[in-house]
């Protein structure tokens, strides 16, 4: 038995479904590969080391529209040895970059905070560039129960 060919009604139904799913489909987002590429672009290909810095972000987030995060780096913040930049990246938002912060000896300490949107549960990575040209990183996996809305009105 072969199924009957789709009639005009079913064809119409199918196109409605595909329009609906297109409308709900988020744009192609960041992936682990685009995350690594974004980090490599920031470091110029230098591999960051672990340790000597901390990314503080809640591991369980109820509302992805506003997630507080804080990054601190162990550094004397002198002319001779300081943090030049701190960048934050994500794995699954539409783009892998979040923000880049520029610091210097006048910062006194290397500590920044901001709030970010999270479209999904994902890995967040903070990378610091030091004045000697080295890089450090710290990654945290975050579970989001209500994602930042990119399809609907309000806050997203």
């Amino acid at each position: 038995m072969t199924p009957p060919p789709p009639g005009p009604r079913r064809g119409a139904l199918r196109s409605i479904v595909s329009i609906a799913s297109l409308a709900l489909l988020p744009p192609a987002g960041a992936t682990p590969a685009t995350l690594s590429a974004a980090i490599a672009a920031f470091t110029g290909g230098v591999a960051p080391t672990e340790g000597g810095m901390r990314l503080e972000v809640p591991e369980l987030v109820e509302n992805g529209n506003s997630v507080p995060l804080r990054v601190s780096v162990d550094s004397p913040m002198t002319e001779a040895a300081h943090v030049r930049r701190i960048a934050v990246f994500n794995e699954k938002n539409p783009q892998p970059q979040v923000a880049v912060f520029r610091l210097g000896p006048r910062s006194g300490v290397a500590r920044v905070g901001t709030r970010m949107r999270m479209a999904d549960s994902q890995r967040i990575v903070a990378v610091a560039e030091l004045s000697d040209g080295s890089f450090r990183q710290h990654a945290v996996d975050v579970i989001v129960t209500l994602a930042a809305c990119i399809e609907t009105e309000g806050g997203g």
């Binding site: 783009q95 979040v98 923000a99 520029r102 000896p105 910062s107 006194g108 901001t114 949107r117 990119i150």
Partner: protein
């Protein structure tokens, strides 16, 4: 568009003390991915740069992407060097600029 900023700087500090500053501006940080009331995507417009100048130099800068929340918030630090104004500036992709100042007395 609403324009408004809220900055918090300690009014007084000792010379050499590291002070924490927080700054937030009213801005939708439109990602360009969100449909508006008419179902069409709202055009992207984010604050792309935030800066803080103090005592003759830029002491902090943030370059932002759409993942930063609406009403972008920053906390950062600076060494209290001398009494005077701190100037804050948010620039968005349409060229609109939000500015704010706060004064610190350094003893």
């Amino acid at each position: 568009m609403t324009t408004g900023a809220l900055v918090r700087v300690p009014p007084r500090a000792r010379r050499g003390e590291v002070v924490e500053i927080t700054a937030m501006a009213a801005h939708p940080m439109e990602t360009g991915l969100r449909p508006g009331a008419d179902g069409r995507l709202v055009a992207r417009n984010i604050v792309h740069t935030f800066t803080c100048r103090y005592d003759g130099a830029e002491v902090f800068r943030a370059e932002l992407h759409p993942a930063v929340t609406a009403n972008p918030y920053f906390a950062f630090t600076t060494v209290a060097t001398r009494s005077g104004p701190l100037e804050f500036r948010w620039e968005d992709e349409r060229g609109e600029v939000i500015v704010a100042t706060a004064t610190i007395v350094v003893e």
